[in-house]
């Protein structure tokens, strides 16, 4: 199962900051997962916003990046501390 992380305001939509998910066979890229999850949570595009970046195993990636069952996949809205 892949480990999914939802940061910042995204966890308000998903209801949890973290979950484990068996990736459906139809999903092989980060972009496909993004679309799948947006529908699954009825997020109405919140997960599709270009400002929401995806990291696979702690590395920022493009939507075209391949993902697999052993990956940690993080959904990251705009960041900022201090």
């Amino acid at each position: 199962m892949a480990k999914l992380l939802y940061f910042g305001r995204l966890s308000d939509i998903t209801g949890a900051a973290e979950e484990s998910l068996t990736l459906p066979d139809t999903i092989s890229t980060a972009g496909e997962l993004r679309h799948f999850l947006d529908l699954r949570f009825d997020a109405q595009g919140a997960l599709l916003e270009p400002t929401v970046r995806i990291a696979v195993n702690n590395e920022l990636c493009f939507d075209a990046t391949s993902i697999s069952e052993t990956d940690e996949i993080a959904f990251m809205p705009p960041v900022g501390g201090g």
């Binding site: 940061f7 910042g8 305001r9 990291a55 702690n58 809205p77 960041v79 900022g80 501390g81």
Partner: protein, 148 residues
């Protein structure tokens, strides 16, 4: 020196330790970011800061390395809190040391712009009117653009 932790930040103690570490430098600049009790909407009770380790630390370290390569600074320190931080508490402390003052000022300014707009943190504000996630504002992004 870089630390991201739930521990309270004592700016005064950190400055003292940094002075020792940076012995020989002629100019030390420090920045303390403190949670204000006035927010966009209503009074702030606390902030909640979320990080994503080790991405958060790696990114800050890369910014510190960039600062060291852009300015002749001899030491830099970043300490950032995560978790719940009450109004009046220090959320971030940055210090830079160099031979002459310009490098210390610019490197500290640069590091704060990184921390405000690019560091991997998410910030939730709890006010007397409820909770809200806060993302960087236009002026933060404009500040960060100065270093491109």
């Amino acid at each position: 020196m870089l630390k991201v932790s739930e521990d309270p930040i004592d700016a005064s103690a950190l400055l003292k330790a940094f002075e020792t570490e940076a012995a020989g430098a002629g100019a030390i600049v420090s920045f303390s970011g403190i949670v204000r009790s006035k927010a966009t909407s209503g009074g702030v009770e606390h902030l909640f800061l979320q990080a994503y380790s080790p991405m958060t630390e790696d990114g800050i370290q890369a910014a510190m390395d960039e600062a060291q390569s852009r300015w002749p600074i001899v030491n830099a320190l970043v300490q950032h809190r995560v978790g719940e931080i009450k109004a009046g508490e220090t959320i971030v402390f940055v210090a830079t040391a160099s031979a002459h003052r310009r490098a210390s000022f610019e490197a500290a300014d640069f590091l704060m712009d990184y921390l405000k707009t690019k560091a991997v943190f998410w910030k939730r504000e709890k006010t007397d009117r409820g909770d809200a996630w806060i993302e960087p504002g236009d002026s933060d992004y404009a500040d960060a653009e100065r270093w491109r």
